[in-house]
């Protein structure tokens, strides 16, 4: 590498090093230390955090017993994130398609509209969503006034509310990459398919989806990964009852003051995501090479 190139790259490298790699490395190191009494860590090597994650120490026999309470939190997070991703895809794809097929002059206005919720802080947006969904909120009020329900629907503080919150938070991350992919799509391919006797659904399935797949994959990742570690939506809308990974980690750093355990929970999440992404990338490289 030449000097000039190194010089040009140095701000980026410093940024990644200090603000991305260093904190993650610190987290990984902390997960192998002992908890301090009032938070923080003692510099004593310990695997307790990881053992605690998978095993329980039996009171009487002092034996380690495998338990799934933390794993079930991971599982629930996974299901919640998956649900949010699927809902985002179902809403986001038609939205992106709609925007991409507008005349060029009005497209950017539509894109701007998609990002409007982002001008308000996520916390405030989530709190106001809670107000909408509450038993006494306008949604239930409207349902009652319309005579659809007698008693208020219990929406707030449920998994459904959490899913709604996640969808609301991350929908634009689904819309934008898919929009970018569809905008680049050559619509004469659609005409060609139609000319070659394909109906609407076949065109969507066999022509449009395969060509815009990279955008769809990007959108799904951009929704799924932050949803998996989400903190605000499950905390506020789930009422803190059904923990997700983000809440579990946050608890260790605040209430429980068990930093190594919080760090271990975060590292496990990170590893899971990395493994999943690697597998995905490998498979894609394989299928690309296969063609």
């Amino acid at each position: 590498m030449t000097r000039a190139r190194l010089l040009l790259l140095s701000p980026t490298l410093a940024m990644i090093g200090f603000f991305l790699l260093l904190p993650v490395a610190l987290m990984a190191v902390y997960s192998f230390l002992s908890p301090g009494t009032y938070g923080g860590v003692e510099w004593l090597l310990s695997f307790d955090a990881y053992i605690q994650f998978f095993f329980e120490r039996d009171f009487l026999t002092d034996e380690l017993v495998f338990h799934t309470s933390y794993l079930s939190i991971y599982f629930r997070s996974f299901v919640q994130a998956l649900a949010a991703t699927v809902i985002c895809l179902l809403i986001g794809f038609p939205t992106a398609y709609f925007i991409a097929t507008r005349p060029p002059a009005t497209r950017s206005a539509w894109v701007l509209l998609v990002t409007v919720p982002y001008w308000v802080n996520l916390l405030i947006r989530t709190v106001s969503m809670l107000f909408v969904l509450r038993d006494e909120g306008p949604l239930n009020g409207a349902l009652a006034a319309a005579g659809i329900v007698d008693a208020p629907l219990r929406i707030a503080y449920t998994d459904f509310a959490v899913a709604l919150g996640l969808v609301y938070s991350y929908l634009p991350f689904m819309v934008l990459p898919i929009y970018a992919a569809i905008e680049r799509f050559d619509f004469s391919l659609m005409e060609a398919a139609c000319d070659l006797y394909a109906g609407r659904w076949t065109i969507l399935r066999r022509i449009i989806l395969p060509t815009v797949k990279p955008g769809v994959v990007a959108g799904c990742l951009l929704v799924f990964i932050p949803s998996l570690g989400a903190y605000i939506a499950p905390d506020l809308l789930g009422g803190g009852k059904n923990l997700m990974i983000g809440n579990l980690v946050a608890l260790q750093f605040q209430g429980s003051r068990n930093w190594p355990f919080g760090a271990a929970a975060a590292v496990l999440l990170l590893s899971a995501v990395l493994v999943a992404l690697t597998v995905l990338a490998r498979r894609r490289a394989l299928s690309a090479a296969g063609n």
Partner: protein, 366 residues
């Protein structure tokens, strides 16, 4: 006898189409009427924006006429969506499916039509053999050259054996040599498959060399329909004469009308002209004379002769083009072959005598 009763492949009756509203309104087609026979190589020729693509897309079903009717083998196909018409298109930029291999592209329509796997395999083989691309079956379109992509687009459109094949400037993206080679191939392909071809181009040479018949369009109207020879030698108006090949446009006075000839006076000489439309004796009119129909002789032998002064001389390889100013001030371009001529052509400033081949001058309708 039978062919006389058969329905034409495509019949277009008084079709009109407008795009846009208000000030931006464009009349893309304006009362177009055409009959395209079965097994014909029919070309729509015209300058950019004259409505060729619009007409082709209407036959394919991508556009609906505002007015008029379109018939396919006698059947009104108005309102039928593209995937219900036995017509396929070779798109200008091919529109090959980038995520499918060549074989999958060719097989696409057959799968859509629910053909048996064995038949699909066989047709892929036949089609790729037809366009000489057998060894590329497993490639993706991005791994092919422009000419190869063009062949695949052709194979793909021919695979379902359409009754009419529509081609929208399929050669325009190719370089000259390849374009010339593909002309002959396309023509041969039409004969081998027996499918009616409707071909769109703005290249007059392409149209002349390939077509059985040509419709010359401009401004959303059909100016003239006919065999290449008729279009070239008997243009009906100055647009057609000017668009196809080169021509001289001269003002003459009509002297005498016969059954299908007119005698017109040009700068003192009497020319025998063919008539494109109504003509009236005693009035001025315009004639078109192809430069190669004018011959010259330094001394001038036999027949009615024009005389003029050579103003300019351009050497064109096979020919030499002379610009001659006639006695009445009008300019006449004459083109003479260089081969087999013993004397050198006259130089600028020299007075020469010219003759127009009898009947070669065309009295125009406008």
């Amino acid at each position: 006898m039978e062919s006389a009763q058969k329905n034409p492949a495509v019949e277009i009756r008084a079709v009109s189409k407008q795009f846009g509203r208000g000030a931006e309104q464009v009349k893309a087609l304006d009362g177009v009427t055409l009959t395209i026979g079965d097994n014909e190589f029919f070309t729509l020729l015209g300058p950019s924006g004259c409505g060729k693509t619009t007409l082709l897309r209407m036959i394919a079903g991508f556009e609906q006429p505002d007015d008029g009717g379109i018939f396919l083998f006698g059947e009104d196909i108005k309102g039928l969506p593209p995937h219900k018409r036995p017509v396929n298109t070779v798109f200008q930029h091919y529109a090959l499916f980038p995520h499918m291999t060549v074989a999958e592209n060719v097989a696409f329509s057959l799968r859509m039509l629910g053909r048996a796997p064995g038949e699909i395999e066989r047709t892929i083989g036949e089609m790729l053999a037809l366009v000489k691309m057998e060894q590329f079956a497993a490639r993706k379109p991005a791994q092919l050259s422009g000419g190869q992509q063009q062949r695949i687009a052709l194979a793909r459109a021919l695979a379902p054996r359409p009754r009419v094949l529509l081609l929208d400037e399929p050669l325009s993206a190719l370089d000259l040599k390849l374009r010339q080679a593909m002309r002959a191939e396309l023509k041969a392909m039409r004969q081998r498959t027996g499918i009616t071809f409707v071909f769109v181009t703005h290249d007059q040479e392409e149209a002349l060399t390939m077509s059985d018949r040509i419709a010359v369009m401009s401004g959303g109207r059909v100016r003239q329909t006919g065999a290449p020879r008729d279009i070239y030698e008997k243009p009906c108006d100055s647009f057609v004469a000017n668009f196809i090949g080169e021509s001289n446009f001269l003002t003459v006075t009509v002297e005498r009308l016969e059954q299908d000839a007119a005698w017109c006076r040009l700068d003192g000489a009497l020319l025998q002209c063919s008539c494109a439309g109504e003509a009236a004796a005693g009035f001025d009119a315009r004639v078109s004379i192809r430069p190669e129909q004018v011959s010259f002789s330094a001394d001038g032998g036999g027949g009615p002769a024009l005389s003029g002064v050579v103003e300019n001389l351009s050497y064109l390889g096979t020919d030499t083009q002379l610009s001659v100013r006639l006695g009445d001030g009008q300019m006449l371009q004459a083109r003479v072959q260089n081969a087999g001529r013993e004397r050198p052509p006259p130089g600028p400033g020299q007075r020469i005598r010219l003759r127009v081949n009898p009947g070669a001058a065309r009295l125009l309708a406008d």
